[in-house]
Amino acid sequence: MAVIELTQLSKWYGEVIGLNNVTAEIEHGITGLLGPNGAGKSTLMGLATGQLRPSKGGIRVFGESPWDNPSVISRIGYCPEGDPFWQKLTGFQFVVFLARMSGLQGASARRAAIDAIERTGMSANAGRAIRGYSKGMRQRIKIAQALVHSPELLILDEPFTGADPIARHELTNLFRELAAQGVHILVSSHVLHEVEAMTREMLMIDHGRIVAQGDVQAVRKSLLDRPHVIRVRVDQSRKLASQLVGWELVSGVSIPQPDTVLFETKSPEAAYERLNSTILSDGMNVQEIAAADESLEAVFGYLTHRESK
């Protein structure tokens, strides 16, 4: 059974569309939720945590509707986007309170809070008021409160925004660790490198619609109309380029830097083969061969490219 199930789900706010007729299943493990600003990521997360109600269609989490349904939402850990806090509380009070709100009892709530704070690396700062926290600490403490009741599903809305590289690194590791322990994670982020470091399973939305779902490289392969771009750093770049121009399977060649050749092709496998043998037979020396557009960032760019700015 899928963890989150969306069936013809639509959500609008007055005239503004949040999600538009979305049907999808989010499976176990880590899923990256990607999309430009305003694409509907937060809407989807709001619906999944029972804070928003579908305008049409349905959403099911663990097989049940999450709206006003504590038996489902208490199994979810939610880290909201932005900066919602009771600023005067200390980090520890904040996490303990939310642990108790999840039904944990005095001592065990405190223990769970200490544990969650420890896991997010906030032990040293837990005694300070949240209003004095830096952005990175705020993210960490938000994640601590999401973890405190050992949920089965974590919904993390932009958990990296404002965090410093160390926090990003540590949090990424934490999420991978949690996933390995069997926690399902739905995470949205603007920094695609980090999502890529955690998972290859993506759900990309734009304008409230799903534009792609699945493994990044599989998605890239299925983008048939987009020629693949291959980058070769080679000592005799002009010689290689002149050769490539002659091939039928190559549709474009450029030399952005003196030692680099970029070329486009629609059949990458054949191109790699022929490229390698050409390099060998013509006595060139190569420094690097790489697909220039198989990264998540490139795929994301292809999928969400908008005509106007």
Binding site: S134, P256, Q257, K309
Partner: protein, 335 residues
């Protein structure tokens, strides 16, 4: 290496020009503050209706000048009653009003100032409260202090916005009323008297601008939530006034007031305005029954005490807002 995206054909262009003196950035803040405030229709309505006291004053002065020639007639009787009530001076049976022109003009303008206090309360609540609070809320201070603006220039600019709106409610209509009345009537006696009255009017208006302007700047710098500033301002204006009223009424009329009479800031301003406009002194110098005025006006409060209360408030307000702005200008880094 990066590339310029296709739709960005504009190259960055350098600018060959000279920047003006940094000390003169505060007029830009004033201009901006006034423009922003005037975007709201409610502000414009308050400003427009702010002319009502001045129009009333012109009306009173015009009627007074008419009365000079109507003394003793039946038509005049009703007007005498009305004016006595408005000016709080018993002019019943005064046959030679001409002799009292100067003091009657002065008390008319005092009455007008009293009425204007209400509009000052409103306009400051509308325009003054967001001045610094909004910059704090939207963290706009780093923009000011990344340009050649100093805390002093900033405060001066913000203060000038509040003060100009108060002036638009007090000084400007007062002066307009004065000018119109001069044209419509015979003036407050001699030219010398007119000039002195004009001078006193300006002093009074400036006094109101300075006190209320600094007060609101200080209030506005306390918190980043404009609503609290508004509530605080209204409370500071009204609560002492009510308290004073209840105290005045429940105490016997012969009780000495001293400092406890200076609780109400509005009354303080009124007493100082009275002093600046020389109404009581003018009445004492004439044969008009001055003690009645004294009774009707308010309890006998020493203008020196009232001025001290206001002065202390103003100075501490300036000091306080200065401290706040300097602190906030450095806060970005401390975060």
């Amino acid at each position: 290496m990066t590339t310029i995206s296709g739709d960005r054909v504009n190259q960055y262009q350098r600018w060959q020009g000279a920047l003006g003196k940094s000390h003169w950035t505060w007029p830009a803040i004033v201009r901006n503050g006034i423009t922003l405030a005037l975007k709201h229709n409610k502000t414009r309505i308050v400003l427009l209706t702010g002319g009502i006291p001045a129009v009333t004053a012109v009306g009173v002065l015009y009627v007074l000048s008419l009365l000079e020639s109507l003394v003793g007639t039946d038509e005049a009787k009703g007007m005498y009653d009305l004016l006595s009530a408005m000016l709080r001076i018993n002019i019943h049976g005064v046959t030679r009003l001409v002799e009292f022109r100067d003091v009657l003009w002065r008390s008319t303008f005092l009455m007008m100032t009293g009425m204007q206090m209400f509009w000052v309360l409103i306009i400051v609540a509308r325009v003054g409260t967001p001045l610094i609070a909004n910059d704090l809320k939207h963290r706009a201070l780093p923009i000011y202090f990344s340009k050649p603006v100093t805390p002093a220039t900033y405060l001066l600019g913000k203060w000038a916005v509040a003060a100009s709106f108060v002036a638009l409610i007090t000084l400007v209509p007062s002066f307009a009323a004065f000018a119109v009345s001069l044209l419509l009537t015979d003036g407050p006696g001699t030219w010398g008297q007119a000039a002195r009255l004009a001078n006193d009017l300006i002093l009074t208006g400036m006094f109101v601008c300075v006190t209320s302007g600094t007060a609101i700047i200080a209030l506005s710098s306390i918190t980043s939530d404009q609503r609290y500033v508004t509530v605080g301002w209204v409370a500071i204006c009204l609560l002492p006034m009510f308290a004073q009223k209840i105290i005045n009424e429940s105490l016997p009329s012969n009780a000495t007031m001293g400092w406890i009479g200076c609780i109400s800031l509005r009354d303080d301003i009124f007493v100082v305005a009275e002093h600046l406009l020389h109404v009581r002194k003018g009445l004492a110098a004439t044969s008009l029954p001055a003690e009645r005025f004294a009774q009707a006006l308010t309890r006998p409060i020493d203008p020196a005490k009232a001025a001290t209360v206001l002065g202390v408030l103003t100075v501490s307000a300036i000091f306080f807002s200065w401290r706040r702005v300097v602190r906030f200008s450095r806060m970005a880094a401390a975060a």
